[in-house]
């Protein structure tokens, strides 16, 4: 069983559209959406949820005001400025409260509170699903708004996908990753067999691709590149192709079918059999060859 992860560094280069096209082309794959804080793959794949589970990314502190003696120990120890200090309406007492959004979930305040007046409990901050789609199984998730620990949710989703693949005899897992190079991206690629980077011929996208290539090198994962919208700036596309450190697996055109297919909730392959579909098919063949 092999995992192919599609990432980009820069957002909006076409990861999800390309993963959806791959879903159309793959014969037997489990699909995974690891962009857990802005997941979009389900919009095209229209999943029927078969299994749902809650996710707890960590714990949150909260101060029981009746037991708090306003000693200020928590305020002094919190390194995330997540303890808010105010004065009671009658002006007699200092009130300490936890800022839920600022709280990192380290539990230091609760541990050291001399009155044991701080609760520190698991908080539910997301959910994940195994679903059926017209292309097979999809494992996806939804991180609560403003929540932490997307990396943990990504790891959980990947573990679930491997189990689904093992149970169903799927040999390939196709993972739609998130933008950036931080915690969710690291969790998406670590231990995977192959990374496809989707870039576009803009200076920003190249800059971001180079950082993400450094990341895949850091984790020792074989990596190929697709230049999407390659004809937006042919000069820059040529420069990318000339770079000996970059393995180009395909080029796809700047074409309105990407948006039109999305509006119809279809993959580009389902929507059209024009030149772009051919470019995507050739990209897919090259990716399969690389994965081996």
């Amino acid at each position: 069983m092999k995992e192919l992860v599609v990432i980009s560094g820069k957002g909006g280069t076409g990861k999800t559209s390309i993963v959806a096209a791959f879903a159309s082309l793959a014969k037997s794959a489990v699909l995974v959406d690891c962009d857990v804080d802005a997941a979009d793959l389900h919009i095209i794949l229209q999943p029927d949820v078969e299994h749902r589970e809650e996710f707890s990314g960590g714990k949150l502190a909260s101060i029981r005001q009746n037991d708090c003696t306003s000693c200020g120990k928590c305020f002094e120890l919190c390194r995330y400025n997540a303890i808010e200090k105010s004065t009671s309406p009658d002006g007699k007492r200092t009130i300490y409260e936890i800022d839920r959004i600022g709280c990192e979930g380290c539990g230091v305040c609760a541990w050291f509170c001399p009155e044991k007046a701080i609760d520190f409990k698991e908080s539910i901050n997301g959910e994940w699903f195994i679903s059926n789609t017209r292309f097979g199984k999809l494992v996806h998730a939804r991180l609560g708004i403003a929540e932490e620990n997307s990396g943990k949710l990504v790891s959980l989703v990947r573990t679930a996908a491997r189990k689904v693949a093992a149970d169903n005899g799927n040999e390939l897992i196709i993972i739609d990753g998130s933008p950036g190079i931080g915690c969710p991206v690291i969790a998406s690629i670590s231990g995977a067999q192959y990374v496809l980077i989707v870039t576009e011929p803009t200076l920003s996208a190249i800059h971001d691709m180079e950082r993400v290539i450094q990341l895949t090198k850091h984790f020792n994962i074989p990596t190929g590149v697709c230049i999407n919208k390659w004809d937006l700036n042919q000069e820059i596309s040529n420069d990318i192709e000339k770079n000996p450190d970059i393995k180009i697996l395909g080029k796809t055109s700047y074409n309105t079918v990407f948006t039109k297919a999305q509006i119809m909730r279809q993959t580009v392959i389902e929507y059209s059999d024009n030149a772009v579909a051919d470019e995507l098919k050739s990209l897919w063949e090259n990716v399969l060859y690389e994965i081996g």
């Binding site: 957002g11 280069t13 390194r79 959004i101 539990g107 708004i145 403003a146």
Partner: protein, 282 residues
């Protein structure tokens, strides 16, 4: 005044809007600072070519064990919520890239065997590009946590300037860190199913923060009218619509700003600022 530019979906044009707005403000003799808070993939510098005057490493304090004092009692591992410290029968292992720097182990150690050393995770840089004050953060490759770098950037923002905060994409912790104490948030979207889905998540996020915000629809003519219907239903303020203009895309691909290449957009950004200024004063 701090104006944050955010978007659930990536690639909708945050950096384009942030830089064009900053450029128009600076050329109207308003003191302007552009802050690139997308520290995983900062792009603003490509367009501004700033001269960096100051830079500073950003580090997380991680534990260092003094084995001459350590009794292997295991308290440090017990308090750590991030699995960053493990105590075996023979030794203590620190996984420094898992450490959030909370200081729990340092405080809890009964024999003072833990001190803290810096684990550098990135850098912040401060400089100038023409009339625009420039700031950016950069996360080192392989490091997972960007919020401390964003926090450090925000500590260094000059207080009198109009500050434009260019946020990372998404709705999770780095975004919150970037936008949470701004005076106004511009949410950028595009009129596609992905754009609308991610806009809904962004609106939910911004409402939790209770900060005034408006919607900017970029490439407003590429998709369908679902985003307009959604904004009407939720009574959201659409502050600007920018059509899909290949000239903007090409300027962007070369690292050039739309307002420099295509002057007709200057007034759009001036009006945008007027609207925001008024919304903040109300």
């Amino acid at each position: 005044m701090k104006i944050a530019i955010a978007s659930g979906k990536g690639g909708t044009g945050k950096t384009t809007i942030a830089l064009n707005l900053a450029s128009v403000l600076a050329s109207s003799a308003i003191r302007t600072t552009y802050v690139d808070c997308d520290v995983e993939e900062p792009n603003g510098h490509i367009f501004l070519n700033p001269e960096i005057e100051k830079s500073k490493n950003v580090a997380i304090p991680v534990p260092l064990i003094d084995f001459t004092k350590c009794t292997l009692c295991g308290k440090c591992s017990e308090i750590c919520e991030f699995n960053a410290i493990a105590v075996t029968p023979k030794t203590v292992v620190v996984f420094k890239d898992m450490c959030h720097g909370c200081g729990g182990c340092f405080h809890v150690c009964p024999v003072n065997a833990i001190s803290e050393i810096d684990n550098i995770i990135g850098i912040i840089e401060i400089g100038k590009s023409g009339d625009i004050n420039f700031m950016q953060g950069k996360l080192d490759i392989g490091k997972a946590f960007s919020p401390p770098i964003i926090r450090e950037l925000k500590r260094n923002i000059p207080s009198d300037d109009v500050t434009i905060l260019d946020s990372p994409p998404g709705t999770s912790c780095p975004v919150i860190e970037a936008i949470s104490d701004s005076d106004y948030i511009i949410l950028i979207t595009e009129p596609t199913p992905f754009g609308v889905n991610d806009l809904k998540l962004s609106v939910e996020m911004v409402r939790q923060l209770e900060i005034p915000f408006g919607i900017l629809i970029n490439r407003s003519d590429i998709g369908d009218d679902e985003v307009i219907r959604y904004c009407k239903k939720e009574q959201l303020d659409i502050i600007l619509q920018i059509p899909d203009d290949r000239e903007i895309a090409v300027a962007y691909s070369h690292g050039k700003l739309a307002v420099d290449e295509i002057p007709k957009y200057i007034d759009d950004f001036k009006n945008l600022f007027e609207k925001i200024h008024k919304a903040v004063q109300d």
